[in-house]
Symmetry: D2
Subunit: 89 residues, 4 copies
């Protein structure tokens, strides 16, 4: 289950993004827009980390303790893929 | 001046983000949410690159060709800061 | 246990880095040096992913299946920290 | 011209990387190895930033102030490419 805090953070980020759209519409200075976009990226990374934390402490533990080997491998592969994408975006 | 394409991309990202909020509200699988958050991050990086491209080809050239040395240093410092933040977020 | 492939990759990266040092000593063009530094960073990320893969499929599974709750939490916290650092560097 | 500090940093990173190779050879704990690899990545990013700073304040200014339009476009394109790669590695 996702936390209330995750949802709250995502809604804050949505507001932040709408602010950036307004900045672009009002022809704000490029560098100021880029800085705000980078702030949104940093906020999204915190959300990803938070969701992953919940995942590691619930689904991953359940899968690893379960008797289904294929399920366990699938879950570990997903965690690795998320890590590998994180190092690219 | 910002391009129409930048604005269009940001609005698409806003829609994408609203979709993620719905996913969290509907208790979607953690890894699926993280993947969508990472897709939004990648889209935001493309927007940053696009805005920087416009900036390098307009403001930066104007500043560097101008006679105000302090202004030139300020503009170059900003580009460097954006690069340094990009390597952190 | 670390794989032979991890060791081989790290030694290749060491050679790549020595090449970059020579480029700097010989006053190579800045952008060419930066590109090579970025290639080394990408190669290091692949190594991290490979080591994490081995870790998830051995130590993490052992800890999660074990009876020591504190050890399990420690191992999960480490994986999360590595993810969070990966999104910053 | 590259600074002495850039060269010194790169040689420190080379020593750091050799230390990581030893860690792997001596079967150090996976997470400890990953942390050191991430520290090397962070150090490399600082070096890239430093080299880019020198580049912006020399070659880029020379090109932008020069009369060769194609050269100016080439230099700006390079800076943008380095930024785009930085957001991916």
């Amino acid at each position: 289950m996702h936390s209330e805090d995750t949802l709250r953070r995502l809604k804050t980020i949505e507001g932040h993004l709408r602010g950036i759209i307004r900045m672009v519409e009002e022809e704000a200075y490029c560098i100021d827009v880029i800085r705000q976009v980078q702030a949104v990226e940093a906020a999204l990374k915190k959300v990803s980390g938070q969701i992953l934390e919940g995942h590691l402490n619930s689904c991953v533990i359940t899968a690893v303790q379960g008797s289904d080997l294929a399920e366990r491998q699938r879950v570990m592969k997903e965690v690795l893929e998320v890590f590998e994408t994180a190092t690219k975006v």
